[in-house]
Amino acid sequence: MKKLLLLFFLSGLFSFQVSAQLSFDGKTVSGSVTGLSFRNFVKVIESNSDYYFYYNQTDTDSVFVTASVTQKSLPAFLNQVFQDTDLKYAIDAQHHIFITKDRPIITTLPKGVFDANRELDTTISYDFHDKELTARLLSTAESKVYDIGIKTYRIKPGNATVSGSVRNIVTGEPVIGAYITVEKSTAGTSTDAFGNYSLTLPRGRHTLRVRSIGMRESQRQIVLYSNGTLNIEMVESITALKEILVKSDLDASVSSNQMGVSKLTIKTMKQVPTAFGETDALRVVLTLPGVKSVGESSTGLNVRGGSTDQNLILFNDATVYNPSHLFGFFSAFNPDILKEIELYKSDIPARLGGRLSSVLDITTREGNKKKFSGSGGIGLLTGRLTLEGPIIKDRTSIMVSGRSSYSNWILKQVTDERYNKSRASFYDVNVQVNHEINQKSSLMIMGYISNDHFKFNSDTTYRYESQLASIKWKRIFNPKLFGTFTGAYTRYRYDIQGEQFPINAYNLKFGINQANIKADFSYIPNTKHTMDFGISSIHYKVQPGSFYPRGEGSLVKPELMEPEQGVESAVYFSERYDVNRALAITGGIRLSMFQYLGPRNVAQYAEGLPIDKLYTTGFRSYGSGNVIQNYMGPEYRLSLRYMASSTLSVKAGFNTTRQYIQMLSNTAAISPTDVWKLSDPYLKPQVGQQFSLGLYKNLRSGSIELSVEGYYKHLRNVLDYKSGDSLILNKQIETAVISAIGKAYGVEVLLKKLTGKLNGWASYTYSRTLLKASDPTLADAPNHGNYYPANYDKPHDFSLISNYRVNRRLSFSMNFTYSTGRPYTPPRGQYYMDGVLRIYYAERNQARIPDYIRADVGINIEGNHKVRKLAHSSWTFSVYNLLGRKNPYSVFFLTEGRQIKGYKLSIFGQPIPSITYNFKF
């Protein structure tokens, strides 16, 4: 290349030798010349006139004049000379000739330029950029200055509003929640659910910075003349290594109004090494402060001292009852279609409710509206594939994704007879259509099905099935009011088939159906106020259990539990008021109602005696649709943000929540036969109250973010269980449960580094969760009616998630987790009963299993980063539990002969390596 340049340069030198046979008479050019250098040409002109050239030697050294003309005007001759070059010229009244690249210099001022109110004269194009609008490269868009509103020569004082939409340049999808900030100002906003934004600024020149998770940061220079629009297109960060880690709200943690909210994008999740190589959304959520689980094989989340059923998990607005496959070893969501996960653990927006502890809002991305594309991955146990593309270009897209395990063939290879008749398989399929009706409304329709099928020791078959569907219509009524209308349907059921012996072969089934409708509105009268309001209603129908004989020889007595149904409705209103730049207040109220409906026979108990089967006096029968029980109560959502400086804010919140459906489970983990139960005359709705206070600080110009949040929570009517009562097929479940009250408190510290080669986060949580029976005098009250630690009470918890980017193609990631062991009930003594040694236990949860320590590492290798190529691929190698530490999941005690032996059970007793190949086309 260098040699070529040199040659080129030399040839230029030699052509300098060609003598000019060109003449200029002051007006016209005549003569014939071949290969005259530009410099010599200038000499010819200048020596014969008062024309004077201004040019850049390096721009013109490759220009050679070859012409044969007679009396051609200078401008015409210059046109001819520059015909195939990007050089332009301008001649002013003083005969100065300016040679410039790309665009000529304008040598006159427009008329009326000193009159501020006069509209711009557009007969001469002073803005060369107008000609380049077709060039859609973002770098151009970034360097360009956009004029917003009606251009005036002078900028009037006062404010004006710029609004518009932010979209993905490739897929045309709106970018929701993109942050638009103004350089050298604290003003900023974020895009709404349609990707629209509106920003009121002083008129004049500004630089807008646009940031969104997973998108390449972009900026726009604007001159704001008056109200106007600016649509912004963003490029997805394909190589993305810079943007990979949690942008949990970006610098919004400091400036946003909410607290206790974490946002994870799929790119973050992909970075975290997992046990079987597949990206697991829920496992990443577990690394956030304040989120715990009882053990390794459970994806049940315990958020700020709540039990696992107190989290509302929404998948595109449809409620999810079983968020995992294979009892928690895999999450139920295909990572390729996920867009982001938002976890609300304290300031739950008023539009969401129905669970006590948290809302986990999982959204999928829209299918590609521009072109057909696909992605997928192949791991050791599972494979997945997603295909997407436009139905109507730029308006309608479809996305179909599927995932399946292929562990059965491995099981068949096992020679041990105990296992090779075992089967374990699962799949999930998601179909989604997004349609843009017009600029102001859009429609999303989604269907999802997940299925698990296991068979162990060839006698018991477990089947789990979730079906979700949702439809969502978003509409902008006017720039100040928009609405979202959602309908969703969830069906979850399981079916357990026992066929060890024909005589007692059985089918045990459980099912729950839920239909939701809701309408949510946002009204933004001005930049200081944002109002949200809406209504929602959920109809639940639960089939609490059926037990049927299986096969002709079975003597099993059919048992069918009475189904139950109820309607949960809510209306809400909340308003955010930005008092001034520093202070913002959000206040909301959600009024929720629950009606427990017939037909049903409700057991009645003797008054003044404990609710026990012994004291059943009879059953009261209710007709279909009759209201058996009504519950109603307000939920308050209050929060306050005060910006002490541009990098430091203080937030406080008070939240109450109510819950009308609960999972019954007396095991430590989510078990195969857990059932959901609606609130009824005996099981009162669960009520929670949370006070929280947080401090947020940006360090090193926003590259490091530190937050400290504290909370105190009070829970009422949560459930605990009497010892040994069966929860399955129990027609009087109220006799098996104990109503408990709980208190939970904690401090969460989070340190995040968002940029740089090394990024990630570290979190530390100190928290306690204690429960006690509501009625301490009850005979079954655990621990004599005093407070005892909940199963998931783990006071100390530390997580480190880090990623080191060596270059654009190679990155290393490392996790480290430490937590206090969860409590268990220790054995206290022993005795002989019928000649056999038995153990008796201490009060509930008085000892702890050993601490949990785990480190994982991963390496991501991306293919090359040519944007246009057939398929992009990447390899992920990971080692889960690198230290090979046998972290106990549980401890238990067995009588062996005359000895009581303690054992600890670890799920992952050694390092688990895995390899996954991912592709995208």
Binding site: I410, A669, G724, P827, G829, Y831, F892
Partner: protein, 378 residues
Amino acid sequence: MKYGLLLFFLGLLVAGCIDPFKPSQDFADGRYLVVSGFLNVGSDTTTILLSRTQSLNSLESSTNETGARVRIVGDKGTTLQLNEVKPGRYTLAPRNYLTSEKFSLQINTRDGKEYASDLVQVKQAPAIDSITFQADRANRIMRFRVNTHDPNNNTWFYRWKTEETWEYTSALYSKDSVAGGLKKINPRVLIPYRCWRTDLSSKIFIGTSAKLAQDRIMNQNLVLVDNASDKLLIKYSLLVKQYALSQEAYEYWDMLARTTETTGGLFDPQPSVLTGNIHCTNDASELVFGFFSAGTEQQKRLTVTPYQLGGWYPGTYPSCSAPFDTLDATEVMMTSDLSQKLIQIIDEPGTPLSYIMAPATCADCRFLGGGLKKPVWF
């Protein structure tokens, strides 16, 4: 089923494991009264055993509660005093009872405390229909099962206790013993080659037909005989005792089995303090362990020899892997019959007598827990 699931993950996917665990803290506390036994309203003696709880892994076999006053009190006027026949063992001779009467157990201990059980109904056990066995070849286990039914559809809840008795031999035969002190070799009076051992069930066997349309128990698994135990090699006998339970008693034994036999698995319920239906009347918060019930007992015995097992390979004959000793006449007198057994005397012309000695564990079947007395019914 539960452990199958567990094993599946442990063995296959993740190489997880179960390791010994010792709590870092001792939670021992006081000694509480333990009551076991039931009121036998049939033709057998009623036996109530009283003992005290111990700290974990205590080496005491049992801490008997002696000198207590134990009574059976009925709700229709019956009061019967039990006699302490051995320390902690209180008995009552069989007599006729009103089956409609409800009974309670009342105890006064020497430390001045009074205990009483709830009133319990008399439950008549139906007869056992059969005891069967089926081989589980995959796991190399012989399963012994019970079948029963109540024609009156009135029992629904069952409990079984088992007594296994089997015959076995030691690996080697020793017909003479060395009486070292007397410097003599005597033929044995009792040759410790063939033994009979009886084991009581260490598990709680319960079953219910409550979820069936008929009060019938079919193929309820009781004892599982592992092939490696060699119990079936010569002759094996299983005595099954059947009791009818109330629902509360069933729930108690079920819970006791669950808290002491299976806890800590992935899906097992949390253990909790389980006491029973006996309370301390002086101090309601004091723990008392045991469940008092009243009823009859039904028995059935099944005895099997290997040829009845239908091609089942019953085990391996015992062998001695320890080395033998060859001793001369003076050396042999130094040995003790407790540690070494004489199995052969080599008396060849021209050479001095030599004695082949084997470790006692190879030539005395009593080391394997049995006795030399053949049960009369065996």
